[in-house]
Amino acid sequence: MNKTLTGVNITSASIGARTPSPGHTVEAGTTPSIHPLTSATLPLGGAELDSASVALLQELARSLHAGQQALLSRDLLSLELNTQTQHRLCQALEILWTQKAATPSSYRPGSPNGPDGALAVRLRAAQWQVLQLGRVQAALLIRAQRSLRMIVHLRAGLEATYSAPHLPLGADRQEASSGSSRRRP
């Protein structure tokens, strides 16, 4: 199912495997589905956008967590797949938030969907979780990079550090034919 929202195509496949199929219903109390993006009820209201954001952020948190496990166990395929999922989820979130910015606020004071309501609290918690997982992911990637550098240096061995600089191929011959008596360093 394709829907266009602010000029970008969102498909259920592009949001990830957890996207419910058309007609899927979500029971009360379960993780909210991200159906607003795939339903035919666009444009969405503020509360619906927040619900969808929470669901996407929770999905993103799960993917980040899985990506971290993959990184630690050097499972490059899983890391790659999770990174792709994260990229898609980020795109979907960008679209949602662009839509939200364009939606006039219809919150009423004391409403559970208001800025201090339960939904907003859940949204902030999900944002915080993703932010923190993102920081951990970045720190883990830096460490993986450092380990890789260590292995590269070990593989290179000592001769790589102390050898004379490489001259381009044929440089010796050119030097000899020009009659230069300079010695190479």
Partner: protein
């Protein structure tokens, strides 16, 4: 052909070697739960053969050595990550303590800034009321106290971190001395061909502990290790250790010295690195921001005061004591300069009912008077930065924990003791020992036969 005695010696070499191998297994089983223990593996080699023309005959087996199983690359990674974890453990702990000063409460700076401007707003509605004027002085006093308390608390934290620096340096010296001593013991044993596995394990553990405290480089050399700090200052060379010293600097805090050189700035990881980072970078940065906020606010309020008139029609005087010209220490020393509420310059023209200057004072709350920001926004920025630093340090701490867990699991799979494997080895060595003993019995019988033969023929 070899003699029966030679065969007996060969069988005995088997008994001795298998007994040695069994001892290694016994030690492994005994240390199954010992942290940092690396399992021992016996290295058996066949003894040098002898030539008895025209044959070359084996002379049995020798237990050449008992080796500890280690992965140097893994050890190095663990030491590096331990340093990073030590750094972020102490940094996170210090920053969380710092953050407590900025938790929203009835007495935090942000609330007191709001209260101060609210009291001025009230004054502008009734500029001649002495009780309202007294309210402004009380709010100003609370604001100054809030700045003082926060700045003093940060300075106290800086001093306790300084104490921690001195203690950590003491622990480092203790460990380097221990490592130098272990270097000597390992070297002595290895020079006479003995296994120094347990001493190497102890040294590895001591190096791991040292990594928690500071950044070190480990350079393995013959039967020994050389340890240096991150910038190359020697800590341990062979059996000699070099102590680090602490010395008070002009700020009253301790710097770390190695053989006369100040190496404080180059210590970047380990517990010491994290403590120094909090003491010398994070807390001073926050103090500077608080000083900027306090001095800018005090100067702005004093400036507006000077432009107005008090209740007696006189030109306004300073509401806050003028902060130092450089701003350094402004937050810690901020105080209210007047005690008489009638001295607040609410009037802009000298008349009693005028509130022009009170409104100008109130307007300061929404003016960008501190580095292009309003006082409340600037303070929010300070709080945000502190929270952000805590989150970053906490994320690094989590990442370090995850990586270390992974590396330690890897180390356990390589160096750790598997009881199943040891049980299998035990059966194997036991069978070999029993077989060698059977050979000894057989040769003994053969010797007995030979001796009896000799007696009969004699």
């Amino acid at each position: 052909m070899s003699s029966l005695n030679a065969s007996l010696a060969t069988a005995l070499s088997g008994l001795t070697a298998e007994q040695g191998a069994l001892e290694a297994t016994t030690n492994n089983v005994a240390n199954v739960n010992t942290p940092g223990y690396s399992r021992l593996v016996p290295v058996l080699v066949s003894s040098d053969p002898i030539v008895v023309d025209p044959l070359t005959l084996g002379t049995g087996v020798t237990l050449q050595s008992v080796e500890s199983i280690r992965d140097p690359l893994l050890e190095s990674q663990i030491q590096q990550e331990t340093q990073v974890q030590g750094q972020f453990n102490s940094l996170t702990s210090a920053l969380q303590q710092t953050q407590d000063n900025f938790t929203t409460s009835s007495s935090d700076i942000g609330t007191q800034i709001s209260n101060f401007f609210d009291s001025i707003n009230q004054l502008s509605t009734d500029p001649a009321d002495l009780s309202v004027r007294q309210g402004v002085l009380t709010a100003a006093g609370n604001l100054a106290t809030s700045f003082n308390t926060t700045a003093n608390s940060l300075t106290q934290q800086q001093n306790s971190l300084d104490l921690s620096v001195v203690q950590t340096v003491g622990q480092i010296n203790q460990l380097t001395s221990q490592i130098a001593q272990l270097n000597g013991q390992i070297s002595n044993l290895q020079n006479v061909g003995e296994s120094a596995g347990s001493f190497i394990d102890q040294r590895t553990q001591a190096i791991d502990q040292l990594s928690t405290l500071t950044d070190i480089s480990v350079i393995p050399s013959n039967n020994s290790v050389t340890l240096t700090t991150g910038n190359g200052a020697a800590l341990v060379t062979g059996q000699q250790s070099f102590t680090l010293q602490t010395q008070l600097n002009s700020s009253g805090l301790h710097d770390v010295y190695s053989q006369g050189d100040d190496i404080t700035a180059s210590i970047t990881s380990g517990q010491l690195g994290g403590t120094l980072q909090a003491r010398d970078q994070q807390i001073p940065a926050i103090l500077t921001q608080l000083d900027t906020l306090a001095s800018s606010l005090a100067n702005a309020v004093n400036g507006v005061q000077a432009a107005g008139f008090d209740l007696n029609g006189n030109a306004g005087t300073n509401l806050f004591t003028p902060p130092p010209a450089t701003g350094v220490g402004a937050a810690a020393s901020l105080s209210v300069a007047i005690t008489d509420p009638s001295l607040i310059a609410a009037s802009s023209d000298g008349s009693t009912g005028s509130n022009g200057n009170a409104e100008a004072l109130y307007a300061l709350g929404s003016q960008t008077i501190i580095n292009g920001q309003t006082p409340s926004d600037y303070y929010s920025g300070v709080v945000f930065n502190v929270g952000n630093d805590v989150s970053n340090a906490s994320a690094e701490q989590t990442a370090s924990g995850l990586v270390l867990q992974q590396l330690n699991d890897q180390r356990s799979s390589i160096s750790g003791v598997s009881l199943d494997e040891e049980a299998a080895n035990m059966v194997q060595y036991q069978s070999a020992y029993a077989a060698a003993a059977q050979v000894v019995t057989t040769i003994n019988d053969m010797l007995y036969t030979v001796v009896n033969m000799a007696t009969l023929t004699g």
